[in-house]
Structures are given as C-alpha cells and as structure tokens.
Symmetry: C2
Subunit: 239 residues, 2 copies
C-alpha cells in the first residue's frame, strides 16, 4: 500500500518549498502559542481566534461578547490586552464558553501563510497522542510546520515534529531530510525528559529570563489536553 | 575571555537571518562540490573557479589556458563540459597546475550570496581538521553555511557542521539552535560511520541511483586533503 508522505518545514521562510495542496498541515509553536490554544480549547473555550497584532486583537475582542484578549510581548502581557500566552492561564472555570482572541507572532504568521491545505490543525506536546491518532486516521500527506522564532530554526518545534514522526513512521513515508533530522533529535532525548534537552535552546534561555520555566515545563508534558484543534475560517475550534 | 560565536545556516533561503559582516563563512556542500574543490586543490590544482551555469563554465574555460571545465547535471557530465563533480576524478597527475572551472548549483549559489564576510572558506570532511585548526586560529565569529539542495535542508551538510562544532565548541559560543541541532546529529553517529548515517538521506538515495556510492563514501572520510581553500576574487585557492 502506498503510504502518504510526512515532511517537516523547519521555518516559515522555507514554506514555499513544500506543496501544501490537499495536505494536512500541523502548526507547531511549542513555546507557547499552540500549547496555549490546545489547553484553552480542551478546557472549554468556545474557540480561539489567532491574530497577528495587538491592535487587531483589541478590535476583534471588542466586537465579540464574552471574549478574552491575550498576548505577550517580551514575556509580559501586551499593553491593552487582558491575559498572557501560557496554557496555565486558561483553566476550565475561567475559559469555559469564552472566545480567546490571541495574538502571537510566529505561530499566527505561519498559519496565515499556508495555502490550499486540506486542513490546518494545531500541534503541541499537550495533544500529541490525539493529534497522531487523527493524522493516522486521515491517511493524507502531512506537513509539520514549525513556527520557529522570527524564521530561525528552533529546537523545541523540531523536537515535537520528531515526536510525531516517531509515532507515525510505520504509517507514513518519512519524506525529507528535515523529517529525518527531527526524528534524530527526538531519539537524542530517549523519548522523554524533553525539558532537560531543551534547557540548552535559545527559546528556553530567553523565556527563562522572564521567569517562565514552569510554563515551559508544562508545555512539554504529553497528552494533558487530548483534543485536535482545527482552523475553520478565522476560528480555531475543537474537531 | 569572550568567545566568538559559531552558528549554522541550514539553507541559503535562511542566509538573510545571519549577519555575515566580518564573519568567517564556511561553504559546505558535501555531496559533492566542496569535497571536489578541496581534493582538487590539495592535489595541486592552481585554482578552482566556481560558476553557476554550464554556459559560463564553457566561456571561462575557453578563456583560460590549461583549464578543465567540469560539472554534472543529474549525475552525468553536463553536455559541453569535460569532467564530472567527484573528488576522485582529480588526482595529482591529472589536475596539478591546472585551473578547474566547476559548475555546481547549490554550493556556487550560496558562495555568491554571502555579503561582507571577512573570509569565505570551503569545508568538507576531506579537510575537517585543517579547517577547524584554521577557524580556531582566527578567533572570529564563524557561520557554517549549508548549501543544502535547492534550498531544502539536507542531512549531510548539517552533519558536517555538527562535526565542526564538536571540534570547536570549547573555543566558540554555540550561537543558535541550528548549531545545537547539528551537534546532536553528529552525536547520533557516535563520531564516525558517517556513510551509514547518511544512507537514509535524500541526497544519498538520489546519487545512489546514478551509481555514485563510491564517490559519496570518499566524501565523508575525514582529513584526506588537509588544506584550507579560500575565495579570492572569483578564484578559490589554497590559503
């Protein structure tokens, strides 16, 4: 049987090298946009609206009843917004039935760049198993899209891509060297203790300076929030 | 003491993210341009002139006495040229004192894209030790530039970057996540048996179909040709 391909785009700046037509594209922004989106939706948020700018976040927030505006710049809640960009900020009793309007830079940009995809879904360690089960059930080619950091390769998004490939390599054709490299990075962790592996990364160091260690530790715990968020129009909802 | 930074650019499409001003930039195209350039120069070639197109290769070849035009397309000597792109084709008795005009796609393109560098040098497993000794002696920031394959990340160039980082990490600040990932890939090989590691790569598979296994095996043997090729004007010469 012909297996669908599984590839990894390491940066939005490389997205043009991939054919996303009819692919399931997984947006990955481990620290922390896609982790936060997954947690908020699993905890009962009605939907998440990802936006690029703080101004847009405020405008859309004002137009939707029972909404929360959220986003950070340099590790602090951005001026004019109400909440930050951590999965721990959105427990069920707070976020249930609300719309989360979230501004993030890297993840949102990649999400809006993808053209012609069959579906755009959200990936994080928090929904690793649910995501892999879903991708397996679709039997379509998959592109794992790392949001990266201002187009620069990052270790945490690629490590997560490696975790997905590790789970799915029996059912997919590992299609490019990026995917093979991601698999090797995952193997370097021995399949666990991700945070130790990531303590040497640029993003861990940057966010640690803002005191966000606990948030990052949470972001790499697999399967805390087993949902598959999917983009429909401008909204991300639970599939 | 402040250590200079050591970074890895995984693809020419990411080069704009790096500041190459006053950096020593290492061009890496393991299969096979930078391996061939290193071997030819160590074997006594007067210089190598890298060019982008077959037509340019012929024109320049015609204008230089005692020159050889070389380059491949799809694993065969390109029409109108005299020789191919393998380090094994340029033994001393053949190439000594000749000018090698070499057309390659990925390596040449990256080389011509680099702006403002202190120096542009050529890296391959064949000159790994000599290159690392030279970089160490310069005490300047270094960018390891992977030529990649039509802008797509490749395993062999990144593995070589990892080998360089492994050698130099005591003297340099490992500056970005690309460099950290390259180091992890190198560690996956246990520091040797590179060809086994690369048998799973896209490029190995592609070139194997043209019967070039022996050439690729040669390209990953460290220190067969301990010279440091450097770009001066349009020529690559031994430093």
């Amino acid at each position: 049987m012909h297996k669908p391909s599984l590839e990894v785009c390491l940066s939005p700046a490389l997205l043009h090298l991939y054919d996303t037509n009819d692919a399931v594209v997984v947006i990955i922004d481990i620290f922390r946009a896609t982790s936060t989106i997954t947690a908020a939706l699993h905890n009962g948020a009605k939907c998440v609206i990802p936006v690029a700018s703080v101004a847009e976040c405020i405008t859309i927030g004002n137009s939707i009843p029972n909404s929360i505006t959220a986003g950070e710049r340099d590790g602090k809640i951005a001026e004019g917004l109400q909440h930050g960009n951590s999965p721990l900020e959105y427990p069920s009793h707070f976020i249930k039935d609300k719309t989360l309007v979230l501004t993030t830079t890297n993840g949102t940009r990649l999400l809006h760049m993808v053209q012609g995809a069959s579906e755009i879904v959200i990936g994080s360690f928090l929904n690793l198993g649910a995501l892999c089960g879903y991708l397996r059930s679709q039997n379509k080619k998959v592109l794992l899209g790392c949001a990266s950091w201002k187009d620069k390769f990052n270790l945490e998004d690629t490590l997560f891509a490696g975790a997905v490939i590790h789970e799915l390599q029996d059912a997919f054709e590992v299609g490019d060297d990026s995917a093979r490299a991601a698999k090797h990075l995952y193997a370097r962790t021995g399949g666990g203790n991700f945070i130790e592996f990531l303590k040497d990364s640029s993003h861990y160091k940057r966010l640690s300076a803002f005191g966000l260690q606990k948030e990052m530790e949470y972001c790499v715990i697999p399967d805390q929030h087993p949902v598959v968020p999917v983009l429909q129009g401008r909204e991300i909802i639970v599939r």
